[in-house]
């Protein structure tokens, strides 16, 4: 396998524009002859499916929820970045590009990131035209807010529901095409495998989750927009259904998996309350703009928050990072929270929590301002914890949130399997080792609206694809393998449902491959995961049949894949003997506890190739060169 990034040459600012006008086009009359499968209806998938259909391609779109509108993108709260410079505070495409490269700790491809920053402005135009009700100022123009880790206000938002509004925009565009008969929508369908014929991606095997029927879908290209795999940690801020099955199956069919260990832990989530906790809820990062984070100075201090005088509180972020204070990037904020809890200074049940306190802001700005800014977040907090955040400070703790890693793609967003394109959070993306707040929505929409529709044409115009139908041997073989896998799962007559194994896996991943990692811990985790896989095989119970709505079966299939993803994640973390961005190896830190990057040895994208079941995967390296932004030590002090 060779990693050909296909990055065009020339000055950074002109690459995309030039390249876009040079790549091949599909003749209008030929577009309807090409069938494209888009798996996923989140920001990336819905925007891509709608745009491709508009261009005239025949499109089929899949999602496992009952409606494309429910894709996990709906849950994004904070906002979306764009280099509009509406605030006149010195923002520019270059600055957004620079911030993203730096925020990602120099582990992303310069050309891709530049393109992303460039396209960002068009996304806002597009969304406004679709009727996305972004927040506005009294003059009627768009409002912005600032978001962690940067010094300009470039984040566009729609209350605390930006992801919802952007997704509804894309969903409506998609709906329009469905209504026109240009997109066939398969809701409640789960992709269970990728069909590869003569070395090219030619279709998928999906399961109709209502009838249980397996169906084969043949196409000229397949686009995966299936989101991230943070649910490998069991408890995360992701929706319960988020899974790695689509990308994992593609990985097993030859698509390289890049930087799996780059997973982001979000600092401001509501801490878990007990064993039956089924997911963690994110509190918008915007709270850090006005909130102060602290823990008691003394370990084991069990007084209520309001009983602890200021002198006995440790505002540890303000103390350690005088210039950024509570606004340090996510990875730093998360690790410091873990540190103070490890020191026994954590608050709340189990000592896993720190205070996020808006008392001072309330005194300074007045309660009504806080109500206006954060009222709905406070309500959400109250709903979940039963505590009134106007009276007692909120408790927060980091939680798995986002995965920078994903399937490796070239500049055209094509994976190592020709004809298999990967967009949105599912690809290894433009965020390097750490994503900045409000940049995932931007990337998903950039990929789906403005990049893929061009680059996929280039592929289709060139590829000489033989005619194929569902009777093709490759389709039949893949289908038989899926059938076999489902049968094995259904045959399980053990003691535990898939949840049990998922929870166990999550514990291992969180403890050993979470906010900080160590070589021995990772090795032990790999052993434990392998053992867990065996237990899973021996002791799983699914029940029911494959010919009906069977949620136990769906979950079991996803957990089976997570049990493999987890191992690769640990392996990648183990091989990367450096700390960078969200990947923090205890062994590699500066004396004051900051990440120590090793550019000499690790300035590359680690792309793993599947070599067969039970065999170790093979590592391929895509070297990263920085022509414009020179790697430096991140400093937020």
């Amino acid at each position: 396998m060779e990693l050909r990034a296909q990055v065009p040459s020339g000055p950074l600012e002109e690459r995309w524009t030039r390249h876009r006008s040079e790549i091949q086009l599909v003749a209008p009359a030929n577009k309807p002859k090409h069938h494209i499968i888009v798996v996923g209806s989140g920001l990336a998938g819905a925007s891509a499916a709608a745009s491709l259909a508009e261009l005239g391609y025949e499109v089929s779109c899949f999602c496992f929820q009952d409606s494309p509108r429910r894709a996990h993108s709906i849950a994004a709260q904070g906002g979306i970045n764009a280099a509009k410079n509406y605030q006149n505070d010195g923002d520019s495409v270059f600055r957004l590009f620079h911030d993203t490269i730096k925020g990602g700790d120099f582990r992303a491809r310069e050309a891709n990131v530049y393109r992303l920053a460039e396209i960002s402005t068009q996304i806002i135009d597009q969304c406004v035209a679709q009727g996305v009700p972004f927040a506005r100022e009294y003059g009627g123009l768009l409002a912005n807010r600032s978001f962690g880790g940067v010094q300009v206000s470039r984040t566009f938002y729609a209350r605390g529901q930006t992801g919802q509004q952007l997704l509804l925009g894309a969903y409506q565009a998609l709906s329009r095409q469905i209504g026109r008969g240009k997109v066939r929508m398969y809701a409640r369908h789960e992709m269970l495998d990728l069909v590869v014929a003569q070395g090219a991606a030619r279709g998928i095997i999906a399961r109709d989750l209502v009838s249980g029927a397996r169906t084969a879908h043949v196409a000229d290209a397949v686009v995966l927009a299936t989101g991230g795999y943070a649910n490998v940690y069991y408890l995360s801020t992701n929706a319960r259904g988020c899974n790695a099955t689509a990308i994992w199956r593609a990985y097993r069919r030859g698509a390289a998996f890049a930087n799996p260990c780059f997973t982001q832990i979000h600092p401001t989530c509501i801490p878990p309350a007990g064993h039956h906790q089924s997911k963690l809820t994110l509190m918008s990062e915007s709270l850090r703009n006005d909130g102060r984070i602290w823990v008691p100075l003394q370990a084991g201090d069990t007084r209520a928050a309001d009983q602890i005088p200021d002198a006995e509180r440790d505002y540890y972020l303000e103390r350690q990072y005088p210039s950024y204070g509570n606004l340090v990037p996510r990875d730093v904020a998360s690790r410091r929270a873990k540190d103070v809890c490890d020191q026994g200074r954590g608050v709340g049940p189990g000592g896993r929590g720190v205070y996020l306190d808006l008392r001072d802001a309330m005194a300074r700005l007045g309660r009504h301002v806080i109500v206006e800014r954060y009222g709905n977040l406070f309500e959400m907090y109250e709903r979940i914890t039963g505590e009134d955040p106007y009276q007692v400070p909120m408790r927060i703790y980091p939680a798995p949130h986002y995965t920078m890693g994903g399937l490796w793609v070239d500049y055209h967003l094509m994976s190592t399997v020709p004809g298999l394109f990967v967009i949105g959070e599912a690809n290894f993306s433009d965020h390097g080792a750490n994503r900045l707040g409000a940049s995932a929505l931007m990337q998903g929409l950039a990929d789906g609206y403005f990049v893929l529709p061009y680059t996929i044409g280039h592929y289709l115009a060139q590829a000489a694809l033989p005619k194929m139908d569902a009777g093709h041997a490759a389709v039949r073989d893949t289908d038989a393998q899926v059938d076999e896998r489902l049968r094995t799962l259904l045959a399980g007559k053990g003691r535990h449902g898939a949840d049990h194994f998922h929870r166990e896996l999550g514990k291992v991943m969180w403890d050993e491959c979470g906010m900080s990692r160590r070589a021995e811990g990772l090795k032990a985790a790999i052993e434990r995961i392998r053992a867990l896989r065996e237990e899973f095989q021996a002791d799983l119970y699914v029940g029911g049949s494959g010919a009906e709505l069977n949620q136990s079966l769906e979950h079991a299939g996803r957990v089976a894949d997570f049990l493999e993803v987890g191992e690769l994640l640990c392996q990648d973390a183990l091989h990367r003997d450096e700390s960078c961005g969200c990947h923090f190896r205890d062994e590699y830190q500066t004396p004051d506890g900051e990440a120590r990057r090793d550019d000499a040895r690790f300035s590359y994208v680690a792309a793993w190739q599947f070599m067969g079941a039970g065999k170790p995967p093979m590592l391929h390296k895509e070297p990263l060169s920085f022509e414009v932004v020179h790697p430096s030590q991140r400093s937020y002090k």
């Binding site: 009952d66 849950a75 035209a129 679709q130 009294y138 209502v210 007990g274 089924s278 449902g497 709505l549």
Partner: protein, 260 residues
């Protein structure tokens, strides 16, 4: 808190008759969400090799609109502005008996247990719940200022999560709140003006073809709506629909999807 009694509607398939089944669930804590209680029950059922209860859910933070069931006669349960997934057990007295039913409407047929088919909502949006804008053809975002008040009101309407509780709660099983929210959202913004009246007509036609009932202004939908969407938007829909019928807007070609 510890034991609760659940009476859950069990129905194997759309055409088979359903019935309530009684379950005693132990080990429930005040911190658990209602769906976590169902998780817990399902885990026990699986351990007994019995069929777990099917229910829709995904985000579990009140935004995706996947969850939804009638809990003691109230869609999404007793708390205002709260989805089933965000409903916590501390709001129930210990030992409480809870009856759980699926949304009931002809347009939302039961698939299994508490899972219903809500694709009718998607088809309503497909009939006109959009602004026709080709990717890449949009003007500069700040070219058209929008009054903050209008933008805020549009956002109020746009907050709908498409859960269907409004239909479930409506004595007429009417979908007017859902449709009204979308028509108002787009109709309040300058970008939505060109297709405004046509949109209202097409969405209403699709809504009626799907078999939803007629609104007689009970207001139950608003009480059940987890996003507290106001029935003012139903009035707004009626207004636009009336103008579509009598105003100087093209009334031919109704029902055809817009081109362009």
């Amino acid at each position: 808190m510890s034991g609760v009694v659940l009476h859950v509607w069990r129905q194997a398939a759309p055409a088979t008759p359903g019935r309530f089944e009684r379950y005693q669930v132990e080990g429930v804590t005040a911190e658990m969400s209602f769906l976590e209680v169902l998780d817990l029950l399902n885990e026990t059922l699986r351990a007994r090799h019995e069929e777990p209860i099917a229910f829709d859910h995904d985000c579990r933070e009140g935004i995706c609109g996947a969850c939804g069931m009638v809990i003691n006669g109230r869609p999404h349960g007793p708390r205002r502005a709260t989805t089933a997934c965000q409903l916590h057990m501390r709001h129930f007295p210990p030992g409480v008996e809870i009856w759980v039913e699926p949304w009931r409407a002809k347009a939302f047929p039961v698939i299994k247990d508490l899972v219903v088919d809500r694709r009718a909502f998607d088809r309503i949006i497909q009939a006109g719940g959009f602004v026709s804008v080709r990717t890449g053809s949009a003007p500069e975002a700040n070219a058209i200022p929008v009054r903050k008040h209008d933008a805020d009101l549009a956002m109020d309407a746009a907050a709908c999560i498409g859960c269907g509780a409004c239909v479930a709660a409506c004595p007429n099983a009417s979908a007017m709140l859902f449709v009204g929210a979308k028509v108002a959202h787009l109709g309040l913004l300058p970008q939505g003006q060109p297709e405004r009246y046509q949109r209202a007509r097409q969405m209403v036609e699709m809504m009626e073809a799907e078999g939803f009932g007629a609104c007689t202004n009970h207001g139950e939908c608003m009480a059940a709506c987890p996003k507290e969407i106001s029935i003012d938007f139903i009035a707004a829909l009626n207004r636009d629909y009336l103008r579509a019928a009598f105003g100087a807007y093209p009334s031919e070609g109704a029902g055809e999807p817009t081109e362009g």
